[in-house]
Subunit: 185 residues, 4 copies
Amino acid sequence: MQAKKSISENALRLFLTKGFMDTTVAEIMEEADLGTGTFYNYYDSKEDVLKYCLGEKINEVRHFVEEIQKSPLEPSQKLSEILLTAGKNFEENSQLINLFMQFRRQASRTQRESPHGPVFKEILADIVCEGQEKGVFRKDIAVGIIIEMFMGLIQSTMNSNLDIPFMDNLKQKLYLFLEGLGVEQ
Amino acid sequence: MQAKKSISENALRLFLTKGFMDTTVAEIMEEADLGTGTFYNYYDSKEDVLKYCLGEKINEVRHFVEEIQKSPLEPSQKLSEILLTAGKNFEENSQLINLFMQFRRQASRTQRESPHGPVFKEILADIVCEGQEKGVFRKDIAVGIIIEMFMGLIQSTMNSNLDIPFMDNLKQKLYLFLEGLGVEQ
Amino acid sequence: MQAKKSISENALRLFLTKGFMDTTVAEIMEEADLGTGTFYNYYDSKEDVLKYCLGEKINEVRHFVEEIQKSPLEPSQKLSEILLTAGKNFEENSQLINLFMQFRRQASRTQRESPHGPVFKEILADIVCEGQEKGVFRKDIAVGIIIEMFMGLIQSTMNSNLDIPFMDNLKQKLYLFLEGLGVEQ
Amino acid sequence: MQAKKSISENALRLFLTKGFMDTTVAEIMEEADLGTGTFYNYYDSKEDVLKYCLGEKINEVRHFVEEIQKSPLEPSQKLSEILLTAGKNFEENSQLINLFMQFRRQASRTQRESPHGPVFKEILADIVCEGQEKGVFRKDIAVGIIIEMFMGLIQSTMNSNLDIPFMDNLKQKLYLFLEGLGVEQ
DNA sequence: AATGAATGAGTCTTCATTCAT
DNA sequence: TATGAATGAAGACTCATTCAT
């Protein structure tokens, strides 16, 4: 449906710009050029549309990551590719992860399941395992740890105050990370 | 003043437990065993007390980091010491950084100064520079990048879903980080 | 029309179950397996369908009462028959009178005519008059009073909290009522 | 508190005039010459104030009934006194019982306790039992039934459409009722 | 005739902040 | 200085009703 899409897009844009709490349903619908009540024909609540938006974004990313995983690249190249592409996307809407974390924290007080996280991490785990089996990644660090650190790279870059361009910043961190991850020759 | 302290402490505790938006001034003063109106004798607004709390915490940490810096430890040992001690503190109130990030995002839309960050980072920068000058840290990565990555370690550990104990998780990441940071022999 | 009937039936059922205010037009049409908008092809408003439903029910009852009136029973037997049969019906959908009263109160603020009441009461009045003329009912009580009291029997039984079965409860009240109504020998 | 009283009084008046659902909190506070938000300093919700009002009224009535019970009157005189006095009060705010019934019905869908009813009925039960023991009331009808019928008298009178004055109406019903209730000599 | 998406007025409720005492 | 009652602006959500298809 056209309306549902328009609502979620405008909602996400406002959430990223002004934060979830500071965005009102009326505002979203104003932007979407629709009556306020129409919102509730498509979503159950303000939180519902947030969940939906994040789910959509997650799916996009997951799809991309799955493509990379299937490719014949080396594990470290896969990680680079994922990080840098993810970075390129996140540069565009760099508040997305913040929004996501904010939501996760919120949700963690009520529900006990983060609906998308696991699947996404499993793919990364595959890549890391592959690297360890091939003997190019060190085996003395738990896979989960490596993935968390990997994902932390984007986040810390997003929150950066430095004057270094986003992608340069990210590349340097990736380099440092892969250096540490690599098996000593 | 005794009251001011009690207010900020109770406020911080509630902010960490329930989030900033979900904590009401009345609730804070209830916990502090004071009348609601008394709040405004000590702070200008709800946001004001948040700023104050975070400033206090930052000062604690900064003081500790300065002590480390003055010590005769090796740079990498200094970083380890800082990270693990910081980690120990953050383990206790692990939402603090989240709260801080949340505030920074909020603030970044209104004010353009992050009042405490720089000072803290300068000390870390000193340590990293010291390491680079002594030839134990690699010089091909910008100091700012290294610091950001370093600080990202705590954050990613805080958000961890793994069953690994917090401090073990943090130690492994630190190890990986220092491996990458170290100069190849 | 099939649709009109289905709408009114489902509406009445929901009104009785959930109350008038707590039943939505959408809900009614959902139950009737019809589109929401279709409602307004058959009724002018939510209140309109209520008026219609109650009218239908009243007609059913009136028809039955007229049959009784024509029968060769004694006046007190007629009243018994009416009350117990009405009771049997009302046991099935015991909220109907409540709904009716609710509506009457509502309506009494806007319109000044209660469309069905009079006709129904006239028949009862005939029966009571017949009894008075035959010398079996006391004449020192106004006919209207007797009828109101008679009709109150069902209502008080409907709202009963006692563990006595509905029909037993009703019979005892009827007995007491007829005792009082009867002429002393 | 002056404010709490004023709110409940204005609320009750509006509930009786316009019905519970059709009265808004803003309207109540408008009448009470207070800010809308002030309502929630004294009551938890709109339903809360209704419950409170009804409780107050019930207490008034109960107190009066207890006084009658302690008096040296004959049982049938007690019943007369109660009914006629109650009637006089109810004539003033004759929608009160309707409001009460409405509330009871609403409540009965959520909670299973009617907080005031039982106590009130117990006193009536005492009077009826006293009458039965003294041999002036018939014993072949259950006490609960008698009470329900007794209480139905007011209700049916309240809903009366007749041109007979309220108190006259009530008196005649009471007379008829006591006739039926009396033991045949 | 049937539809169901769109609407927006209307409600309850929350809460930061003020101010008279 | 301490208080807490009063406030009113603001926001999420509901739903009877309309109307273009």
